[in-house]
């Protein structure tokens, strides 16, 4: 049998994509999930704050996933759990293995990639020192704590002020650990202000901006001490600024990387800025009929946005299967001043219904600024913003009727102070 759609990954992106494709009329849909349950990383994110946009209420991670799993249960979407995808290819074949069914090659009319992302590790940032037990990514520690019921440490220093690190500062504190410091390389936090207040300030945990860990010392195989230094403008440690912490644990919250090994191996064109696939306005990749959505495309701040993007991908996969291949010339979106990346990277104007959604991140903190879309030197449209920061994904809606005025084959998105 050939599936209408195979969704790789049963986290928030995969769930929303499958539900949406079903709603749009696809009947033979399969989700392949490597874990023993659906929901992905949300299962370990037991804190609240999810769903304010999507459901207009504050849910915990498992509750947010639960809403979508309930929706999925009302459809005829098939699910394979405990199953690993080893390979996908441009012919829409999906190689999977599982203990239950062995090695199988599945065929599909369309595929949605929803593999999510992974955490950057100590090795990726090259922290000097001993390499003992006690250095964990925040997400691994979160899994041990919230799902397995173990504390990875009692005296903790956190490197990186991304949201997972902040959330873990509070969780470890609530469970009786002493969190000594949160140390951030950049001069600003990568996390939400709300998490700085509720996860650090509520508990009197100091946040050291423009600081980093410069040494990790072990005693008898476990972390026993770390040294932290303030950094100069070139991010080099300033001698004499060292702070010394006796601790047993270092948690790392130093960024997420889209998990695209399957994507690369399938020969899908990648964007080095996002570490994700290059996608069109409907989340289709460079290989026709293969779509991508969620954190595998670009790392999102809020799961609500993942769901919205994935629903668009699901609908587009349904349209691809039911109506055939999307055609049309594509406009490339060029990153102008202070714009780090955009998603989508390309827009096929003929396929844009009323407007195209464009997501992007700025490279620095802005107050009272404008986002400009230009066709060559001509200003197509501008959008005002009171506040922008690299940690906050920006979203603009570009009307079709303005896209129709574009004469060149590219438009530029840039940001500047007003």
């Amino acid at each position: 049998m050939t599936y209408d759609l195979i969704v790789v990954g049963g986290g928030p992106a995969g769930l929303a994509a499958a539900c949406s494709a079903w709603e749009k009329g696809l009947k033979h849909i399969l989700i392949v999930e490597r874990d023993k349950e659906l929901g992905g990383i949300l299962n370990q994110c037991i804190h609240n704050g999810f769903g304010l946009h999507r459901f207009k209420e504050e849910l915990t991670g498992p509750e947010y996933a639960g809403r979508f799993i309930k929706m999925l249960n009302d459809t005829g979407v098939e699910v394979m759990l405990d199953t690993m995808v080893l390979e996908i290819n441009a012919q829409h074949q999906v190689h999977v293995i599982s203990a239950a069914k062995g090695y199988e090659v599945l065929e599909a009319k369309s595929i949605i990639l929803a593999m999510g992302c992974r955490e950057r590790t100590r090795g990726a940032i090259g922290i000097p020192g001993d390499r003992p037990a006690g250095v964990f990514t925040a997400g691994s520690a979160q899994r041990y704590l919230n799902m397995e019921g173990y504390m990875v440490g009692k005296r903790v220093v956190i490197l990186g002020s991304g949201d997972i690190g902040l959330i873990m500062a509070r969780r470890m504190t609530l469970e009786g650990a002493k969190v000594l410091a949160c140390v951030e390389l950049m001069p600003y936090s990568g996390g939400l202000m709300r998490n700085i207040v509720q996860c650090l300030e509520d508990w009197g945990i100091p946040l050291y901006l423009s600081h980093t860990i410069t040494d990790i010392v072990a005693t008898n195989g476990r972390v026993s001490h770390v040294t932290v230094h303030k950094l100069d403008d070139k991010r080099q440690p300033i001698p004499g600024t060292n702070l010394e912490f006796d601790c047993d644990t270092v948690l790392l919250s130093v960024g997420l990387i889209p998990e695209n090994e399957l994507t690369r191996a399938a020969g899908i064109a990648m964007d080095p800025r996002t570490n994700g696939a290059i996608v069109y306005e409907n989340m289709e990749t460079s290989v026709p009929g293969i779509f991508a959505c969620g954190n595998v495309v670009h790392v999102h701040d809020l799961v609500d946005y993942v769901s919205a993007e994935s629903e668009r991908a699901g609908a587009a996969a349904a349209a691809y299967v039911l109506n055939g291949v999307q055609q049309g010339n594509a406009i490339t979106i060029v990153n102008g001043a202070d714009v780090g990346y955009t998603v989508p990277q390309k827009i096929r104007v003929d396929n844009v219904p009323k407007a195209a959604d464009i997501f992007f991140r700025v490279r620095r903190v802005f107050k009272d600024s404008v986002i400009e879309i230009k066709d060559g030197d001509r200003l197509v449209i501008s959008y005002k913003r009171e506040h922008m920061a690299p940690g906050e994904m920006e979203h603009i809606i570009l009307p079709r009727k303005l896209l129709d005025t574009v004469t060149g084959n590219e438009i530029t998105v840039s940001a500047r102070e007003a």
């Binding site: 490597r34 599982s98 069914k101 992974r118 000097p128």
Partner: protein, 480 residues
Amino acid sequence: MYDVCIIGCGVIGAATAFELSKYQADVLVLEKENDVAMGASRANSAIIHAGYDPKPGTLMARLNVEGNAMAEQLCKDLSVPFSRIGSLVLAFTEEEEATVKMLYERGVQNGVPGLKIINADEIHEMEPEVSKDVRSALYAPSAGIITPWDYTLAFAETAVRNGVKVTLNARVTNIEKLPEGGYRLTTPQGVFEAKYVINAAGVHSGEIHEMVAEKTFTVCPNRGEYYVMDKSECFRAHHVLFQCPNKDGKGVLVTPTMDHNLLVGPNAEGVEDGDRVNNTAAGMAFVREKAYKTMQTINYRNAIRNFAGIRANTDKDEFQIGIAAENFIDLAGIKSPGLSSAPAIALEAVKLLSQCGFNPEKKANPITTREKKRFRFMNDEERREAIKENPAYGRVICRCETVTEGEILDAIHSPIPPCSVDGIKRRAGTGMGRCQGGFCGPRVVDILARELHLDPMTITQDGAGSQLLLAETKQEVSAK
């Protein structure tokens, strides 16, 4: 009383144990750590050198070339990842070109096969990413890359299957000569007696030597630091790319590994503590700076791990191999090219035992092969078969390296059972990849605890004391 006690289960001790296990002899290996291959054998450049580097006429020269020649068949028989990809020693200056010529001459004298000096065009044909500044290179087709901890494990496991006893957590603290001949060795695991003792204690071989003999050499522990790069960087090198050796060693190299990563390093720095393998900001910066000369394109954002290893360098420009005292053999001060020489050093040990008067009969049919399932290197058909045979091969635990539960179970139930997450890593390959065990770590802990009937809180990352989990949550339970 054992016939032979080998102190140290690095690659030298393990290769010697394997060689002796082919004879009718009671052999004991004492290892101070909680696993084998815990010193220099697991943290090095993972190269089987061709043998043009050591001075002609030295033991190092002969044993390197012999060990290199033995590696291929041994790795085939013992299922150790090995590939004879060849090496280049790159010359960037006139002076270095002279060094390359000198190495060529040495290599020819040492009996290294197939050596050739090649020009810049030929180099770039073979290695397009190498710096445009390169002038010429020594090409040694017999150099290879290997998984060094698995080489050690293969020797040790096969020796155990042949009846050798390996005792872990057994640091030798005292050696006493027995009046009736033989030695008594004291360890935290008890006291052991053996007629013959072989000192393969690596960076501690000086201390062991001095327990029975006058000091004749000094171990000078020397640390080398490395970068391991993601598989996406592996394409940059197809051969082992050396720079010209200098007084500090063979210099910074760039090489692919058997796991398709790119390895960059090492520096060379004398250190006090031969057991401390920390990385330093200065050492890592040095490696990046020196490697830049070989190749400007390496993207360090794609680094997945740093590590450091300790070389058992000595004040002598030679391996310290010989009879140190009555019935006591030193395989000491085994620095580079020790890994390459290991199987040849083992044969040397058998010869020295014979000189001491120990000439056991060969066993009729000793085990000399090892099978190992590696799902990631199987083709589709082999994978289908493996899962059919045992469904555990269908459950991927380490998703970066595609290591299955079946391979983890094989490791746990192997002849030298591991007790740590890194013990599983060395045997099965879990956690070696880009997420560095972030995903599979908790699952490996779970499987280890389940299979060994242990509390997860006792499972270590690596050596003794390196527990991962420090407490259970929700401690004060009362019925409700």
